[in-house]
């Protein structure tokens, strides 16, 4: 797990990227604030998850881009690809959890606070951050193989991420307004199931992706 530590260290050394994303979160939320002031719960919810989506694309996409070819070859000679992708997954989950908290804070500061169950919502935000980062890590690994990275990432990622976002916004609706939702545990189960599925697929398929 030295790889996770290396990634964290590298992130701290290349602070410009980290602060770039923080600034990105801040300015996105600020633009929303300029446009709609304090939106009602439903819009707030939608805006929040869209911000999350774009933050995740930006934060996770670079995790494979920042590695040069030579360095990848060096890793390849050191560790099994499975450990490598596991390290990347863990690192991105940590990064995204941090980013989720920041964007939640920004949203509350600028867009008002419609949350009535704070702890429940916090849990969903963290869970959402984890799910998004897991999926996008794998997609970034795929996109890194192709030449046109950013565009390809969006093309592949958005359809795949739609079900997850749908589930998340449905679940989090319960924290914002008092609604009765049938099938809530089922949705949690499904989301957890999807996470497990993505992790399993990443671990199984990444070694093939790395063969060169």
């Amino acid at each position: 797990m030295a790889l996770v530590k290396k990634d964290l260290l590298l992130e701290w050394r290349q602070r410009h990227a980290l602060f770039g994303i923080l600034l990105y979160v801040f300015s996105t939320v600020f633009v929303i604030n300029l446009m709609v002031k304090e939106p009602e719960e439903k819009i707030w919810n939608a805006m929040f998850w869209v911000v999350q989506l774009f933050v995740c694309v930006n934060a996770v996409a670079k995790s494979f881009l920042q590695e040069s070819r030579g360095r990848l070859l060096y890793y390849y000679s050191l560790v099994h690809p499975r450990y490598f992708i596991a390290a990347k997954l863990i690192y991105n989950v940590l990064l995204m959890m941090f980013m989720s908290l920041v964007s939640l804070l920004c949203c509350i500061l600028f867009l008002g606070n419609p949350i009535i169950h704070p702890l429940y919502f916090l849990g969903i935000v963290l869970l959402g951050g984890i799910s998004l980062s897991l999926l996008f890590t794998m997609l970034a690994a795929i996109a890194a193989q192709a030449s046109q990275n950013a565009a390809l990432m969006a093309i592949m990622g958005f359809p795949l991420v739609m079900p997850i976002l749908m589930l998340l916004s449905n679940i989090s609706q319960g924290a914002l307004s008092p609604v009765v939702q049938p099938g809530l545990p089922g949705m949690f189960l499904l989301l957890g199931g999807m996470d497990v599925l993505v992790i399993a697929l990443a671990l199984i398929l990444f070694p093939y992706l790395w063969k060169e």
Partner: protein, 221 residues
């Protein structure tokens, strides 16, 4: 002749389905009058799509195991034919919905999730276009294909069954089972499943052969 019997069978069955589908007596229930005949065209499309996507994912996994480019060609032709049937299923569903539910795109979860699933497969086809290196294209798209299939099943099979839907077989409405389906419908529907699936496989083999010739001309031309 011995190899082509199933193609003749497909044509015969489809003729039977089209003639039978428009002439057989269907029970008219509620606002689902004669529009119920869509069932002979709407449902089999999904059967055919699932079959083709399954062929596609099996070939993708096979490619990852063997690195044989012909497997990749098979996977891609099956996926594109599957998308064709998916789009047709979506269109027939829209037609049916216009007359039965009173709107082309109603806010039905199954319609939404199917649209998402089809977008994922369209992304697969776009992904394939963005590579110039054949081996790399094959490897990366095979991996994406496994992902796509892994999401297709929960999207179109599990989520719609959990939530309220206008489609039969959801949380609150009865499913499509053999007890409450009229005999006349069953008599046409089961052959329809087989007929449309065979047609799908036929199109897939044609496309596969064409693509393989293309590959051959690239490699040896």
């Amino acid at each position: 002749m011995a190899k082509h019997w199933w193609k003749i069978l497909a044509v015969a069955i489809l003729l039977y389905v089209i003639i039978g589908g428009f002439s057989v007596k269907v029970p008219s229930i509620g606002n689902n009058q004669q529009a119920a005949r869509s069932i002979f065209f709407h449902l089999p499309m999904w059967m055919s799509m699932y079959t083709l996507f399954t062929i596609s994912v099996v070939n993708s996994v096979w490619y990852l195991a063997t690195n044989d480019l012909r497997r990749d060609i098979r996977a891609s032709s099956a996926a594109s034919t599957g998308v064709l049937f998916g789009v047709m299923g979506f269109l027939t569903g829209m037609l049916w919905a216009t007359y039965t539910w009173g709107g082309t795109i109603v806010n039905d979860p199954k319609q939404m999730t199917t649209a998402i699933a089809l977008t994922i497969y369209l992304a697969y086809l776009v992904l394939r276009l963005s590579f110039t290196d054949l081996d790399k294209r094959a490897r990366v798209s095979a991996i994406f294909n496994v992902f796509a299939f892994a999401l297709l099943i929960p999207l179109t099979y599990i989520i719609p069954r959990m939530v309220e839907s206008l489609h039969p077989g959801s949380a609150s409405s009865p499913g499509f089972s053999s007890q409450d389906t009229a005999g006349t419908i069953k008599m046409v529907l089961w052959p329809a499943f087989i007929g449309w699936t065979l047609l799908g496989i036929w199109i897939y083999t044609l496309r596969n052969r064409y693509k393989r010739l293309e590959l051959k001309s690239i490699l040896h031309g």
